[in-house]
């Protein structure tokens, strides 16, 4: 399939790709991430049981405690961090998370990624050009989220 490009602002440079871990419903940081496995453990969340490691994490925003960034950060320190981040609109908690993880990150998107990208799709994040590219659907990219 042809690749689809969504443009935005590159907030942290570099290029990375991986399977999309995407949800319009954000994850609660405090208690929502198992830092020792990098898995989403929020009960009933669409991404429950899936792993952050190597993923392109695409979330609408943050939720709950100010202890949001530290859970993604702790998972990264344990070796289970995401490869890249996409937050369509920034709030202070998502911005701290990006600054702390220091992986390629794009924000201020021109199109709604939640209408275009599905869980497991292969996605490239180019933080230098401010672009995210849908390389292939889950059939091509292979869902490695579980």
């Amino acid at each position: 399939m042809a690749s689809i490009v969504i443009r935005g602002r590159g907030a942290l440079g570099g290029v990375a790709e991986g399977p999309a871990l995407i949800s319009r419903r954000t994850i609660t940081g405090w208690g929502g991430i198992d830092v020792h496995t990098g898995r989403v453990k929020e009960p009933g969340h669409p991404l429950e049981g899936m792993r952050l490691k190597g993923s392109v994490l695409i979330l609408e925003g943050s939720r709950g405690s100010n202890g949001w960034s530290i859970f993604f950060h702790a998972a990264q320190v344990a070796g289970f961090g995401p490869a890249a981040l996409v937050f369509p609109h920034l709030d202070s908690r998502t911005a701290v998370t990006a600054a702390v993880l220091n992986v390629p990150m794009v924000t201020d998107l021109e199109d709604d990624p939640f209408d275009i990208i599905s869980v497991g799709d292969r996605v490239r994040v180019d933080g230098d050009r401010g672009e995210i590219t849908l390389i292939g659907g889950s059939g091509d990219g292979g869902c490695r989220c579980r």
């Binding site: 907030a11 709950g64 100010n66 530290i70 709030d91 600054a99």
Partner: protein
């Protein structure tokens, strides 16, 4: 990005390695936000101690843990002092003062926690041990810039006092406290503090519980990043009601500032709250919305209760007075453990007033410094009840117990009978 000579000097390492690393993170954070400048931070409410997520650093060395987890650097930097001119609180801690080590994961954790707290004290941090710093001397005045790791405190301080702070996160709060600056962005700028959504409150909240429920019912409807201004025919809420309201609103919607017409300082009128901007939306909170919130938080019928945790956010002394008045001469059910959480200075007052003795004679414990969310739950708990939506929501992430939610009176009656009677 524009840095002053002072800020550049810190970034160049003239203030030492820890401030240098802290400033590097703050500058990167500002870059992510697209902020053009930094602002001076004079109050920092931190999150100190051996919290469980620090285990990933796999080290017993304070400076290595602090460098990795707070300063976000792989090079160990020794924490000497927090920034001069920034008053620092430890925040709610991982262990409680009255039952130390009781629910921590082994004796090593307790030793590590005390050693870490000692280093923070040496660096100039006050051991506040509370999630309600704003009731205990943490007083950034209107227009002053603060950081806080406590979402409900951010909402309270912005909304009620007109102080300026964002949600940030634990790492950015530490870095701001070490280097003395944070990005001038978001609620640090007056133009971002104006109301975006008009909220018509039709549920006529009166009690603390009504306001706690209202926070959840409104939070479920608010879009991300919205700044609500509340209007409606309700009795003027006091700080204790607003404490509950802000806690449940913050944890449900992530709201960081909320105006109330005629009550909060930036909302003398709706026009003032909007600041000349058009409203982006209107929200109505009806009795039906609040009833749905209560049902959603408490779908459980009658049943025995193993554990009741009260005091989220930590109780004010007047709430302790009320509990003591209820429990005076009564006896808590032997199969129900009741913990009443407050801040150390309020417990001191309660001790002097005899409230602690009355509450503990009835069979409950008055505890300070922590809460079940940060220190864990007693073992063997199958059913637990709360008077706080925040605590109820947080518990769902941390325990498999069946969870109940109701007013303080309902929780106290349950404490006596040992059985939740439904709502």
């Amino acid at each position: 990005m524009e840095l002053t000579d002072t800020q550049k000097a810190i970034l160049d390492g003239e203030g030492g390695r820890a401030p240098q690393k802290a400033m590097a993170l703050i500058v990167r954070y500002a870059g992510v936000l697209g902020a053009e400048r930094l602002c001076r931070v004079t109050w920092a409410d931190l999150f100190c101690g051996a919290h469980h997520y620090l285990d990933v650093a796999v080290s017993d060395d304070f400076d290595r843990i602090f460098s990795t987890m707070a300063l976000c650097t792989t090079q160990a930097a020794r924490l000497e002092k927090m920034n001069r001119g920034c008053i620092c609180y430890s925040g709610v801690e991982v262990d409680c003062t009255e039952l130390p080590g009781h629910m921590l994961a082994g004796p090593n954790r307790q030793v590590q926690n005390l050693a870490m707290l000692r280093r923070f004290v040496d660096a100039g941090v006050v051991l506040s041990g509370t999630c309600v710093p704003y009731l205990l001397g943490f007083i950034p005045v209107a227009g002053e810039h603060f950081v806080s790791c406590e979402s409900s405190a951010v909402l309270f301080l912005n909304s009620l006092w007109g102080a300026c702070g964002n949600g940030d996160g634990i790492e950015a709060s530490f870095c701001a406290a070490v280097c003395g600056y944070t990005p001038l962005w978001g609620l640090h700028l007056p133009e971002n503090r104006r109301a975006t959504h008009l909220v018509a409150v039709r549920s006529r909240p009166e009690s603390v519980h009504d306001w706690d429920v209202l926070g959840h019912a409104l939070g479920r409807q608010l879009p991300p990043m919205a700044v609500p201004v509340l209007t409606g025919d309700f009795a003027r809420p006091d700080a204790i009601r607003l404490k509950a309201f802000f806690a449940s609103l913050a944890c449900t919607a992530g709201t960081e500032i909320c105006h109330l017409e005629g009550i909060t300082p930036e909302a003398g009128s709706i026009d003032q709250a909007l600041g000349g901007n058009p409203e982006q939306g209107r929200i109505i909170v009806s009795d039906r919305d609040t009833a749905e919130s209560v049902d959603g938080l408490n779908g459980n019928p009658r049943g025995p209760i193993d554990y009741i945790s009260l005091g989220c956010p930590h109780y004010h002394i007047d709430e302790l007075r009320r509990i003591a008045a209820f429990l005076d001469g009564r006896r808590i059910h032997p199969d129900t453990v009741v913990h009443v959480w407050t801040a150390g200075p309020f417990k001191y007052m309660a001790d002097r007033c005899g409230y602690t003795e009355t509450i503990e004679n009835a069979g409950a414990r008055v505890l300070t410094g922590s809460c079940p969310s940060t220190r864990g739950y007693p073992s063997g708990v199958r059913t637990a009840a709360y008077d706080s939506a925040k605590q109820r929501l947080s518990a769902a992430q941390e325990t498999d117990a069946q969870l109940y939610y109701g007013s303080l009176d309902q929780c106290l009656q349950t404490a006596i009978s040992g059985t939740w009677e439904g709502h």
